[in-house]
C-alpha cells in the first residue's frame, strides 16, 4: 500500500525537478489567507498582488523575463503558511515570498525565508519582532509596525489633549505590541497622561459589554484601541446604545478609517472616532493614485475600493525595483538592493531603512465625519502621519 504511494511520489517529484531546471519566468510567491476568517483581507490583497505582477509584465518584464504569480492560502495558520512557503520554494521555485497577514504567519514565513535564503517581503504583518530581534538578511517589511502606529495614536491623543486614557487591545500578539507602542508614544508626547485602564478582550470576541461598561466607569476621556475589522464593528455597535461615543473620544488603530469599515457600518459608524488607513480611495496624495484607483475600481467593478490591494502592490513593486537595480535574481544581491531602496507608490514615496529593513510606511489619520452626499463617513481632515519615531 504505502510503497505505491511513494513510487508515485517519486515519479511526480522527478517530473517536477526536471520542470524546475529551466526557469524562464520570475515567480512571485504570494501568501495570504483566502479561506476562513482571514479572507476579508486576504482576498482583496490577492487581487492587488495579481495587479502588481501584471504591472511588471506590462512594463516588459524583469531582466527580460515574464513574471508569474504563484499563490497559496495561509489559512491564517503559521504552520500551514510555513509549509506552503517551503513548498513554493522547493517545488515551484519562487524567487520571492510576498504577503503574510498575522504576526505569527509573518514570523513563520520569515523563518522559512531565513533557512532557504529567499527574500520575504511582509506587506501586512505589523509585529515589531520581525524587524528587531527576529530580523535577518532576507526579510523586509513594507507594512507599518506597531511602534509607528502607537506613536501616531499618542500624537493624536496629544492633539485631543487627553487627560486619562483607557486602552483596549485584543489579547494576542498585535494587541500586546500595539499597547507597548502606545505606551512608548505617550512617554514621548504626553508624559503626564496615564493609562488608567487596560482591557484585553480575546481575539474573535463577540461580546464587549463587560468592557464597554468598565470603560464608562473608569473616568477616562480618551480610549485607544487596536480592535481591527469586525472587532471594531461589533464593539461600536454594542457601545453606541451605552452612549460611549458621546462621552469619550476613541482613537482607533487597525485601519478603522479604511473604506471597508466605514462603508460596512454606514450610518452605524459612531461619532468621535479618530482612525487610520493606509489608503483612501477618495484621497489622492499624488497623480498616480488617481490612475491606480481607476484601474483597481475597474478590476473590482465598484467605484469605491478597499485598502488591501495597494499594500500587496507595494510589496511586489518593491521587489521588482530591487531586481532591476541588482540586475540579478540572486537573493543576496536583491537583498543588498532592497536595503535603502526607494520607490514611488500611489500613497507616496516609500524607502526601506538599510539597517532595520523596515519601510517608512506612515498612515493617514483623521476624524471620521459625516459629509454631504457621502452615504457613509469619511476621514476629514486627512493628515498623513509619517513613520518617524520623533524624540
Amino acid at each position: 500500500m504505502r510503497h505505491r504511494l511513494l513510487v508515485s511520489l517519486v515519479i511526480a517529484g522527478t517530473l517536477l525537478a526536471i520542470n524546475n531546471l529551466h526557469a524562464e519566468e520570475i515567480k512571485i510567491g504570494m501568501l495570504y489567507p483566502i479561506t476562513g476568517g482571514g479572507a476579508i483581507y486576504g482576498s482583496p490583497a490577492q487581487i492587488g498582488h495579481r495587479m502588481g505582477v501584471e504591472e511588471i509584465n506590462l512594463d516588459g518584464g524583469l531582466l527580460g523575463l515574464q513574471a508569474i504569480s504563484v499563490e497559496r492560502d495561509t489559512k491564517l495558520n503559521p504552520a500551514t503558511a510555513a509549509a506552503a512557503a517551503k513548498e513554493m520554494i522547493t517545488k515551484d521555485g519562487v524567487h520571492v515570498l510576498i504577503g503574510g497577514l498575522s504576526s505569527s504567519v509573518g514570523l513563520a514565513v520569515s523563518e522559512v525565508a531565513r533557512q532557504e535564503k529567499v527574500i520575504y517581503i511582509a506587506t501586512i504583518a505589523k509585529t515589531i519582532q520581525m524587524t528587531t530581534n527576529k530580523r535577518h538578511n532576507y526579510v523586509f517589511r513594507t507594512a507599518s509596525h506597531t511602534d509607528f502606529e502607537g506613536d501616531a495614536m499618542a500624537q493624536i491623543a496629544e492633539k485631543l489633549n487627553a487627560k486619562s486614557i483607557c486602552d483596549i487591545q485584543l489579547d494576542y500578539a498585535y494587541g500586546h505590541d500595539l499597547a507597548a507602542g502606545i505606551e512608548k508614544g505617550l512617554a514621548r508626547h504626553l508624559p503626564d497622561t496615564k493609562i488608567v485602564l487596560s482591557l484585553r478582550p480575546k481575539l474573535r470576541a463577540t461580546d464587549y459589554n463587560v468592557f464597554i461598561t468598565q470603560i464608562m466607569g473608569a473616568g477616562c476621556d480618551v480610549v485607544t484601541g487596536g480592535l481591527w475589522g469586525p472587532h471594531f464593528v461589533d464593539f461600536a455597535k454594542q457601545a453606541t446604545p451605552f452612549g460611549l461615543f458621546q462621552q469619550i473620544k476613541f482613537i482607533a488603530g487597525g485601519e478603522i478609517g479604511s473604506h471597508e469599515i466605514a462603508s460596512t457600518m454606514g450610518r452605524d459608524y459612531p461619532d468621535n472616532v479618530w482612525a487610520n488607513s493606509y489608503e483612501l480611495w477618495y484621497h489622492h496624495p499624488n497623480e498616480e493614485h488617481k490612475k491606480f484607483h481607476s484601474k483597481l475600481s475597474a478590476q473590482l467593478g465598484t467605484h469605491e475600493t478597499t485598502m488591501w490591494p495597494v499594500l500587496a502592490v507595494i510589496g511586489v513593486r518593491m521587489y521588482a525595483a530591487a531586481v532591476k537595480q541588482a540586475g540579478s535574481l540572486d537573493p543576496d544581491l536583491v537583498a543588498e538592493a532592497l536595503r535603502g531602496m526607494s520607490i514611488d507608490t500611489p500613497v507616496g514615496p516609500r524607502t526601506i531603512d538599510p539597517t532595520t529593513h523596515q519601510t517608512d510606511t506612515g498612515q493617514f489619520w483623521g476624524p471620521m465625519v459625516k459629509k454631504e452626499g457621502a452615504p457613509y463617513r469619511v476621514m476629514d481632515p486627512i493628515t498623513y502621519i509619517p513613520a518617524l519615531l520623533s524624540e
Binding site: 483566502i34 476568517g37 463587560v210 468598565q214 454594542q238 446604545p241 452612549g243
Partner: protein, 314 residues
C-alpha cells in the same frame, strides 16, 4: 517554576474586583450583561441541545446554521429593505429549508452509525457550508442595523441599559417557556420527549420515528438561524463567525447536560455569568473561561449539571 509564577502574576490581579464590590450599580450592569449574553447563547444552544436529545447527534454545523441566519438577516434587511422582524422569520424559515435538505440527503443515513461518524459528518458540513457562504456573500463583513425602537437605551431607574439587549433578556426566557410548553404540553412534544429516552419503544408503538427526527432537526436548525438573526445587530456577519460561536455552545450544552433543555438554560446563564464577571476580575483570561468551566463541571459531574448517566454500572 519562576517563569510560571510570573505567568500567574501577569494574569491575575486587577482593579475590577474592587469596583465590583464597592459599586452595586456596576455589579448590576454586569448581571444584565451576563443575562443578555447568556440568553443570546441559549437561543442558539437550545437548538443544539434539542437535536442531541432526540437524534443523539452533536451537530458541529450548528454554528454554520447560525452564520447563515445572520447573513440572511443582512440580505433581507439591508438589501431587500424589509424590517428586522421579517428578517428573523426569514432566517428561521430559510434554515428550516436548509435543514430539510441536509436531513433528507445526509443525516437520515447515519442515525444508526457510531457517534464519531455523526460528529464527523457534521464537521464535513461545516467545511462545505463555510465555502457556500463565501460563494453567496463573499468575504466582506456586513453590519445589520438595530431594529427601529430598540437602537437606544432604556432607563431602568438604577441605570440605563441598551434596549435591544433587554429585549434579549426577555426573549430568551420566552423561547425557553415556549419550548418547554411544546415538549410538556403537546402530543408532538411528548412524543419528542419519549424519543429522547427510547427510540425503539416508539417505533414499536407505531409512531413514525424518522418524521420526528426530521421535525426536531428542523426546529433545532430554525433556532440556530433565529439566534444568528438576533445576534446580527451586534455581531457583524462575517466569515469565520461560525467557528467563534460553536465551541462555546458546545460548552453550554455539555455543562448543562446533553439533551436537557433546562440544563442548557442554566448552562447558558452560568456561562454568561462566568464570562462577564470573570472578565472583570481577570481581564485578560477570556480565552480560558469556557474551557475551564467545562473542565471543572465535567470533573465534578461527568454527565453535566442536569444530564443523566449513560447506564448504571458502567
Amino acid at each position: 517554576m519562576e517563569p510560571f509564577l510570573e505567568f500567574i502574576r501577569e494574569n491575575l490581579g486587577s482593579p475590577g474586583l474592587a469596583i465590583l464590590i464597592s459599586n452595586p450599580q456596576f455589579a448590576f450592569i454586569q448581571l444584565l450583561n451576563s443575562i443578555s449574553m447568556g440568553m443570546n447563547y441559549f437561543i442558539i444552544a437550545a437548538g443544539l441541545s434539542l437535536i442531541f436529545g432526540v437524534l443523539k447527534v452533536i451537530n458541529f454545523a450548528h454554528g454554520a446554521f447560525y452564520m447563515f441566519g445572520a447573513y440572511i438577516t443582512y440580505s433581507v434587511t439591508e438589501l431587500m429593505g424589509l424590517s428586522f422582524f421579517w428578517a428573523v422569520l426569514a432566517a428561521a424559515i430559510g434554515l428550516m429549508l436548509m435543514a430539510l435538505i441536509i436531513e433528507r440527503c445526509l443525516f437520515q443515513f447515519i442515525y444508526d452509525k457510531e457517534h464519531l461518524m455523526q460528529l464527523l459528518l457534521t464537521f464535513a458540513l461545516v467545511l462545505i457550508l463555510g465555502d457556500l457562504a463565501k460563494i453567496i456573500w463573499g468575504t466582506d463583513q456586513y453590519s445589520v442595523a438595530y431594529p427601529a425602537g430598540l437602537a437606544g437605551a432604556t432607563n431602568l431607574g438604577i441605570t440605563f441599559y441598551p434596549s435591544y439587549r433587554l429585549m434579549l433578556c426577555v426573549l430568551g426566557p420566552a423561547i425557553f417557556i415556549a419550548l418547554w410548553l411544546f415538549i410538556e404540553r403537546t402530543r408532538w412534544g411528548r412524543i419528542t420527549k419519549a424519543a429522547t429516552q427510547d427510540r425503539d419503544m416508539l417505533s414499536a408503538l407505531g409512531i413514525n420515528v424518522p418524521v420526528i427526527y426530521t421535525i426536531v432537526f428542523l426546529i433545532g436548525s430554525a433556532l440556530a438561524g433565529m439566534g444568528g438573526a438576533l445576534a446580527s445587530p451586534f455581531n457583524s456577519p462575517a466569515p469565520g463567525m461560525d467557528a467563534n460561536i460553536i465551541v462555546e455552545c458546545f460548552v453550554i450544552v455539555i455543562i448543562g447536560g446533553l439533551g436537557s433543555l433546562w440544563g442548557t438554560f442554566v448552562g447558558a446563564l452560568i456561562f454568561g455569568l462566568v464570562f462577564n464577571f470573570g472578565s472583570v476580575i481577570v481581564p485578560n483570561a477570556q480565552d480560558v473561561f469556557a474551557f475551564l468551566l467545562l473542565l471543572i463541571v465535567l470533573l465534578i459531574r461527568p454527565w453535566g449539571l442536569y444530564g443523566r448517566a449513560e447506564s448504571e454500572g458502567q
